[in-house]
Subunit: 736 residues, 2 copies
């Protein structure tokens, strides 16, 4: 997450004092709202949160487990006890769990991978064995393969370009890839596309182990038996239940046959620890890997293929299991049909203390405080719906099924979706729809860092001033708000934002607690409270942040949407895309010339197999005019709205409806090219990065993937989307 | 070494065809010279070179050993047999050799370092034990110390700034530093300045071991017992015999007392292998090192201090030994008083196959071919003096003593000094005085790469086009010559160039053979011929290059000096220094503001000890005008000379004398501030980098070291030097 920040704090504090009216509120309603928030803060109790955390993380509680159902029931009981209309809404989903997991080095020596995480005397939680969900990658296909290994670095598209230059083809081989850089599901997807017949993913200690810091239990990092579990479902195509894309996985809905579920991998894949990876990598030969590819194991890394030959067997029980979402509602006193939705999942791969319970307990603390305000005579004006989602880990399934199941209602009523997930300590990370940039900045101005006597915003700003590059520092001089990050994927906001077009936000603390527990046996209460947020002091602060986020949306006379932040960020994306095309054109042209005139061949080391790159089609110039014209209109309309809004605090249900449905205009029913589930044309997870966001994805990915004939159409669609938004904003400006 | 290169080879080949007249020659003498060179090439025999290499590397032959004397005698016999007037010129020098070497971890556990390199069955040379010079750092003081360890990364000034931010002081501690980044002597020098009482230097496998590639004997890289020996004499103060700075170490010369020799370290230091380093580093505690500091051992690196506590004992026999330089002379037929000096050392730390014998055999092959030409009726017009230096390894001693001993004659007669040292395969590296840039480029145009059917220059150019950054590529479009590197230190050119002001050159191949044998037991014939230059095909090519370099200087009617290359490179250095000052001023100002207004403090992680930097004095603006005015005059004079030279191939002894003594004008008798031995004001080794060059060192180092009150004086000196050179060039232009 990258913030922008001001060069001189003192100046910035003077320029943009935190005592402005809250966006959407006038002076008097702002004062009332801030008083309410102070009252709310008093109800947030870190000790209580710690106790909830301890209780819910006591047992492994992955979707389908008895413990997970009990966690859902515990959450439901809490909500109910606080006065929420609470129900457990369940869906029937396909979930593979491991039956056979075998990785064996069969040549040139023999070694059988343990695939086992060790119990630690220092952490009683890790003594659990019976209900432990063993390390695996959910939605790997079943299979048994035997082949030579090829080391594919992080398994990204650019890695295969390098392998090609070494003359190495993964066809018929098993790809061994490091965790990191991309979402893990990309690794088997791309390996399969390139012809590999199996994939092994391991955590290299360079990225996640002793090279990063002391390992658990001495420090927080991954020890040599730790394995990152995780889904490898092709989520950039669609998330959620693999059998019911676009539909809620209710008991009687129409389902695909498993063979037709395109998001299950095409080749088997298993994750391993670096302890298990060491003998495999040590047995490899071939050229030494490029310097940037090497990890931190005490060996020389080689590309292969072979002579290391591996047998990989992965078989799963493909169960239909029930996912239990807890849905708790507090009906709004004034605008019951306008819904603020707030969610955090509750399922973990095992104990899930950090992921997701650290966020879950912040949501619970917030919900309790909101309920107490209601009981004290300050009910929210709008309806608040809390969702504690199940089955996020295997593929955002609980939230996706609920969002799909209630799509029409949500499109009509949802004001915004506010998400949290695992959270630690450090700086407030803010991602979200840019129509909410101002509103989110005000919240960060109003909440203090629990360690420093300064607002969260000023602390993030200080971080950026100290650590940002010259450009970031320069921009910060002129920009009032910290730039919030566009959302890709990786948590439950995806169905709301990218499928339904509901303005969404993701909040959490990070940057000062390192993480080796992610998706391992070691994501325990002990680990979390020792290393990630002792005393849950940042957790309690998160509840104050999200409590404000929820209540300001719920209580604002006029919804706190504004459009200058959107226009400014879209302008940045358009510029980035133009620079992307220019950079690719220049680089491709230069490389092609050097390939053609033999310069590359002359420069290569004749003692190595690494050769010149393959020539690529020249990158044409594109007509960006439609996009830039639309951007111009968006900027003008945003200015008009801003001026109108500043001079006028009148509002109406009609204005609010047009405000909160504005994000819908950034979607198209047909979705993105090749992945119709994703409707949003400004924010999407990358097709070949996974979690990483691609802004204006239709245009950006057509260029990145060198599908030049598609660019013009995608520019037109993006321009249409922005023009529709500009029309809407102009209408709103006229109504004020 | 960084070359500049042209974007399109075809174009460049057309623009700058290699059939120009050789600089200093007219059409007819160029043709004759090129014919001679072709004849010379036929005499160069890689098999004979290989046999010399095998013979000279058969035994460890460090200075003072019997084998070293035998190598000197062998070389002398060869020269004599070819008809050179040959003598062995000896000097009596102080040389410490190890008596006691002990490193022991005494807390929290016990471990005794082996300090021993293993014999390998695959390499018979490594079976030698009796005459092996054990791993040590020459010119460490004697001492026994016991203290906690502090990890100081590479032990550079910026590393201590980081340690200071962690609140770590090395006073009274033992610093453990990685080899690399700086010349090794900087590490104990700086550690001592900071208060450490001992230094351990080790080769981290990240830089020089399994992480770089397969280790010996499987591959060329350093195995876990290999230790880099090397001098830690404070060579940036003065090289050569520590007792006789500025004077030849003849038998009866005046000597310093050992206690007054400022170039011996102030604290004891020993080098170790990464196998011996592992238990020491594993036992350390304290904060985890910054990510950029970590190495490739399979541990978490910590800064300390302690709890690892080490006892280090280093005692040496401080012997007076004889260094044997072989001096072979072929008197010039026409200009016997103009001397071309060509050298390469012959002493190795042990077998020294790569360092220095790979270069030595190229010099011998060249010398034999030159002698054969002479016998065939083509003696050199000028006198050629070959120097096979002893005692380079402990501190450039043989060459320095000879240069000091013959300082007056050399200043009067030496046309230039041409150096080689260890050489491998790949690209021709060219360093040298920029008055010789054009001449060196022409040689690289005239010799073909032995693997590719293209000139050495075009191959280097191709490399730079493919690997250079945009700026380098851009510049290459307009520049005829590959930019040659300025010389710092690290081989025998230093006394000639930087003490006497003799234009100097250093040549060698590299970039396609990796090196883990450097200064270890494993620098053997077997290692060299397997990994570094099988068949000595690049070695033979080096002889062709240096043969041309020697003969063109010897035979050119007008010496091949020109000044546009000098002016252009000096312009670059002036620009760099201005940018250095601007960058430091901006960064210091920004940091000071952020320290003062508390931004740094806010941005720091409260869970870590790493704090804000310490405020520094603001960087003032400097008056660079005198330097830039002088540069302008230099550029104009260079243009005038260029024009005059192009229209006129007349020459005279007077012109030649003014040409070859021009480099002397870049020196000042008083030398550099604080190190009077170094007289050259354009090129010097860095006071805190060692080998790394500092151009216009007086000005640059005053700024880098934040001694702002010295900058003005240094600018005036540098301007004087350039003005003197411009005057000389103008005189020369008028004479033509």
């Amino acid at each position: 997450m990258r913030f922008l920040a001001f060069a001189i704090l003192i100046a910035s504090s003077v320029l943009f004092a935190a005592d402005d009216n809250i966006v959407g509120f006038n002076k008097s309603s702002s004062d009332n709202q801030r008083a309410l928030e102070t009252q709310m803060d008093a109800s947030i109790n870190a000790e209580e949160m710690t106790e909830w955390l301890r209780r819910m993380s006591a047992e492994p509680h992955h979707v389908g487990s008895l413990a997970s159902k009990e966690v859902a029931e515990f959450i439901a009981e809490l909500f109910e006890s606080w006065g929420y209309e609470t129900e457990i809404v369940s869906y029937e989903i396909l979930l593979p769990v491991p039956k056979t997991r075998e990785i064996e080095l069969v040549a040139p020596t023999n070694f059988v991978a343990s695939l086992r995480e060790e119990t630690l005397a220092e952490d009683p939680s890790t003594a659990v064995r019976e209900t432990l969900l063993q390390p695996y990658n959910a939605f790997s296909i079943d299979g048994e393969v035997e082949a030579e290994l090829v080391f594919v670095n992080y398994g990204m598209p650019e890695d295969y370009e390098i392998l090609e230059r070494y003359g190495i083809d993964v066809t018929g081989k098993i790809a061994i890839a490091k965790y990191g850089r991309s979402w893990r599901g990309i690794k088997p997807k791309l390996a399969g596309e390139k012809g590999a017949i199996g994939t092994i993913i391991y955590s290299d200690p360079a990225d996640d182990g002793y090279a990063a810091g002391d390992v658990y239990p001495k420090g927080p990092f991954k020890n040599d038996s730790g394995v990152q579990r995780g889904s490898v479902m092709d989520m950039p195509t669609y998330p959620g239940d693999v059998l019911t894309p676009g539909r809620g996985a209710t008991e009687r809905t129409r389902r695909l046959k498993k063979e037709d579920a395109s998001t299950i991998t095409k080749i088997p894949v298993l994750p391993i620890s670096y302890r298990d990876a060491l003998p495999l990598l040590s047995a490899m030969g071939g050229e030494v890997v490029p310097q940037e590819w090497r990890g931190a194991l005490p060996i020389t890394y080689h590309l292969g293929p072979g002579p290391a030959k591996v047998r990989l067997k992965a078989e799963f029980d493909w169960n239909m299991v029930t996912a239990y979402n807890v849905i708790a509602r507090l009906t709004g006193s004034d605008y019951p049909d306008e819904w603020v939705i707030r969610g955090n999942h509750h399922d973990g791969w095992n104990h899930g203390a950090s992921d997701p319970l650290s966020g879950q307990v912040a949501m619970l603390a917030e919900a309790k405080a909101v309920a107490e305000l209601a009981k004290a005579g300050h009910p929210p004006l709008r309806t608040i719906i809390y969702g504690a989602w199940d089955a996020e880990e295997p593929g955002l399934i609980g939230s996706t099924e609920w969002a799909e199941d209630h799509a029409d209602e949500l499109k009509a009523h949802a004001v915004a979706y506010l998400n949290t997930d695992g959270s630690a300590r450090g700086f407030l990370g803010i991602g979200g729809s840019h129509v909410l940039e101002r509103y989110l900045n005000q919240i960060a101005e109003d909440v203090k860092d629990p360690r420093a006597d300064i607002s969260l915003k000023e602390r993030s700003r200080a971080y950026q001033v100290v650590n940002g590059d010259a450009k970031e520092r320069e921009e910060a001089k002129d920009r009032r708000d910290l730039r919030i990050s566009p959302l890709g994927s990786g948590s439950d906001y995806t169905p709301f934002l990218q499928h339904l077009g509901i303005a969404s936000v993701n909040l959490g603390f990070g940057g000062e607690a390192s993480d080796g527990s992610y998706h391992t046996l070691y994501d325990t209460y002990e680990h979390f409270t020792k290393f990630k947020d002792p005393g849950l002091i940042y957790g309690a602060t998160l509840a104050k942040v999200t409590g404000r986020a929820t209540l300001r949306l719920a209580n604002a006379p006029r919804l706190p949407f504004e459009f200058k932040g959107l226009a400014d960020n879209v302008a940045l994306y358009v510029k980035e895309i133009e620079e992307l095309a220019d950079g690719m054109r220049e680089k491709t042209g230069m490389e092609n010339r050097l390939i053609q005139d033999g310069t590359y061949a002359i420069a290569m080391n004749p003692y190595k197999t690494f050769g010149p790159p393959i020539a690529k089609a020249p990158v044409p110039h594109f007509n960006f005019a439609p996009l830039k014209n639309a951007l111009g209109r968006l900027q003008e309309s945003a200015d008009a709205f801003d001026e109108a809004a500043a001079n006028n605090d009148e509002t109406s249900a009609a204005v609010n409806k047009l405000l909160y449905t504005s994000e819908r205009l950034l979607t198209r029913d047909a979705g993105l090219d090749g992945r119709p589930w994703y409707k949003h044309h400004i924010y999407a997870p990358g097709f070949y990065t996974g979690y990483g966001v691609k802004t204006i994805p239709g245009v950006r990915e057509a260029i990145e993937q060198r599908e030049y004939d598609k660019v013009g159409t995608q520019i037109d669609i993006a321009a249409d989307v922005l023009n529709d938004m500009a029309d809407r904003i102009n209408s709103l400006a006229e109504m004020l």
